[in-house]
Symmetry: C2
Subunit: 117 residues, 2 copies
DNA sequence: CATATCCATGGATATCTGTCGACTCAATCG
DNA sequence: CGATTGAGTCGACAGATATCCATGGATATG
């Protein structure tokens, strides 16, 4: 790894004293962290991440039956993954006749993307 | 939601025929999707995401005992979260005496960040 | 109208995850 | 050396997750 760190030296605290006060605090608010973590969690599966990748570029063009053969999972399992993405607010779907068309909600990934940057 | 989609019309397939061929394929390779999903999964918890946020800006300045009071979790649980981040290749640590200093590995988040963009 | 298709839902099950308390181990201090 | 501290590991356990099969509901086709 070999990274150049300047370690802030510490001294062992005297007997019985409470631990050192935290000197740093997160920049992200708790609610913001929870929102972003929820998005990240939904993306934390290869199938779902790939789904988002496909849907981002082919909104309105793909029905679920065309997504199934892209993966080694059953159709109900794919439906469950899509539901997870829906619940996380990343995608939504539009039904037309027998078919369901999914698309990525614009800006759904923006907050996380900006934080990562 | 109200997004402007142009849906590609489909026709029900004839009896007994195999499902429509997929017309789209993911742009991400399977291995790339797995790498990014692993990173996203590690970030998919508010505690870990906040840890990364803190460590990104205070590398080498914070020991674990200072991180604990930032959250409502026990020290072993925090250690466990740090291990998850280590296993995902997001952070690493340097031990000096009694203290362990964590830091975010440069570029660990780059691939996911670029994909999200 | 009967039947087949697309997709979602529900139940079952094995595995993974987050959390804790108890413990271990190395390093420090007295 | 003996006691204490920082931090990682272990075992346990409740809750979440991924997956399947079977089913159900709506819609299209003939």
């Amino acid at each position: 790894m070999a990274i150049d760190l300047e370690l802030t030296p510490k001294t062992k605290r005297p007997n019985g004293e409470p631990c050192c006060e935290p000197v740093v605090y997160p920049d992200v608010e708790r609610a913001q962290a929870e929102r972003m973590a929820q998005i990240a969690k939904a993306l934390g599966d290869p199938v779902r991440l790939t789904l988002v990748d496909v849907l981002r570029k082919h909104a309105g063009k793909v029905c679920v039956c065309e997504l199934v053969p892209l993966f080694d999972i059953s159709q109900p399992t794919l439906s469950h993954h899509l539901k997870k993405l829906r619940d996380a607010g990343i995608v939504d779907s539009e039904r037309q006749g027998l078919w369901a068309y999914y698309y990525v909600i614009p800006d759904a990934l923006e907050e996380l993307s900006a934080w990562l940057r």
